[in-house]
């Protein structure tokens, strides 16, 4: 972001901070909300969800063909069959990267995102540059992330225009054949599950 827009954001912040505080005060005084509930919600969204959930799902799919088949059939049910991930709501859809097809997820209209498995979306996912360009110039967008794909690879963009949500199942990197599920989960980045990154083992 340019220096100019940083300055602009800063000057807006104090005003919005005051207004947010005022609204929270009014809603509390009226008994619509309790501050303890708001505190708890902030903490829940900061700690209970996040890309570790998605990474565990991907690592299991890489390690267990039966689970992978179940994931591609009904990702919500498959994710909820794992004991160690946060619960997932309806209509999570897993889309598989292959040597022929690379998947990329966007929400051009707002910010729809599989947040139970990836956490709240990053700023860039919600930004105008990503939302505008992902559907028309995906190779350019991937370039912004330092990702370059062969010209013959089909790029499939999933615009999340309804309450269905998409998680990309990236390709398992070569050289990880002997790795444990926990080791694999470590290299599954958030971006690789959106489609703007690929998992890269250190030293590979």
């Amino acid at each position: 972001m340019s220096e100019h827009s940083h300055d602009h954001d800063r000057s807006e912040l104090s005003d919005v901070q005051l207004r947010v505080r005022a609204l929270e005060t009014i809603l509390t005084e009226k008994g619509y909300i309790e501050p303890a509930v708001i505190d708890q919600l902030v903490e829940s969204y900061e700690t209970k969800i996040g890309p570790k959930n998605g990474a565990r799902i991907v690592a299991r799919a890489w390690s267990d063909p039966t689970f992978k088949a179940a994931l591609l059939k009904d990702a919500t049910a498959a994710a909820n069959s794992l004991g160690h991930v946060s619960p997932v709501g309806s209509h999570l859809i897993a889309v598989e990267n292959t040597p022929q097809t690379h998947n990329l997820v966007v929400c051009t209209l707002c910010s729809c995102y599989p947040w139970e498995v990836l956490g709240l979306p990053p700023v860039w996912y919600k930004s105008a540059p990503y939302r505008s360009r992902a559907v028309i110039d995906p190779r350019g967008v991937l370039g912004d992330f330092g990702v370059s794909l062969p010209a013959e690879t089909e790029i499939r963009i999933w615009d999340s225009t309804a309450e269905t949500r998409f998680i990309v199942l990236p390709m398992r990197p070569a050289g990880t054949e002997t790795w444990s599920e926990d080791q694999l989960a470590e290299i599954v980045t958030r971006d690789s599950m959106i489609g703007t990154g690929v998992p890269t083992p250190k030293g590979a």
């Binding site: 009014i26 505190d39 209509h91 505008s132 028309i136 615009d159 225009t161």
Partner: protein, 220 residues
């Protein structure tokens, strides 16, 4: 509203995407408060998720573009609590409550907030059968409603193929209205070639899908 600045797919001029390494969940405490206020007030059930989106789409384009994401959420929430008579403009100006509260249908409790966050289920039972099946060729409608829709501009009046039937879901176009009419509709994944959407100069290796509700689709 449909043809406003939020409908960004295919626009030029916004510059490169700027990834942020090790990005925090919230960039300032007020962002977390806005997000939580939105969730807590949403739990009252006075407006739908689509009504929430529609309130952001009604922000003036200059405001939409010059506000950060959680600033937009905040402005939308302010609009909604005023529109539903929960808070007065005078109270927002005063920064405190000036009159007794209107009763809420439901209030989020601490026990609710302690549960792992989970998205709602928008699939609904239906007696109707789906009009289309995978492999069917369809043309998207050419609609330009002044109310909420989830059919993006770039995918209107375009020919595509049904790839999947996703069940029958709450219809955002009516659920976003004040009457909050869910009117569930069949939902499909519809795939378009890059050339169909963007013309002969398009990258031949791209395909784009949208999630399209049945009223958006006609047989091709």
């Amino acid at each position: 509203m449909s043809n406003t600045i939020h409908d960004m797919g295919g626009m030029h001029g916004f510059g490169p995407v700027e990834p942020e390494p090790d990005e925090p969940v919230f960039h300032a405490p007020w962002e977390g408060r806005v997000h939580a206020l939105q969730r807590a007030m949403g739990a009252a059930g006075l407006w739908s998720i689509d009504g929430g989106r529609a309130s952001l789409e009604r922000l003036p384009p200059v405001t939409y573009l010059s506000s950060s994401y959680y600033q937009r959420w905040f402005l939308g929430l302010e609009k909604r609590v005023v529109a539903h008579g929960l808070v007065g403009e005078d109270e927002l100006a005063a920064g405190r409550s000036l009159r007794t509260a209107k009763p809420l249908p439901r209030r989020m409790t601490l026990t609710d907030a302690q549960q792992p966050p989970i998205r709602g289920n928008f699939e609904r039972p239906t007696n109707s059968s789906a009009r289309f099946k995978p492999g069917d060729r369809v043309r998207t409608a050419n609609i330009n409603p002044t109310t909420h829709t989830r059919l993006p501009r770039y995918a209107r009046d375009k020919e595509g193929v049904i790839e999947a039937v996703r069940g029958c879901h709450v219809y955002p176009d009516t659920a976003a209205l004040d009457v909050h009419d869910e009117r569930p509709q069949w939902l499909y994944t519809v795939v378009f070639t890059g050339r169909e959407l963007w013309g002969d100069d398009a990258d031949p290796s791209i395909k784009v899908s949208i999630e399209a509700f049945e009223p958006y689709l006609l047989p091709a």
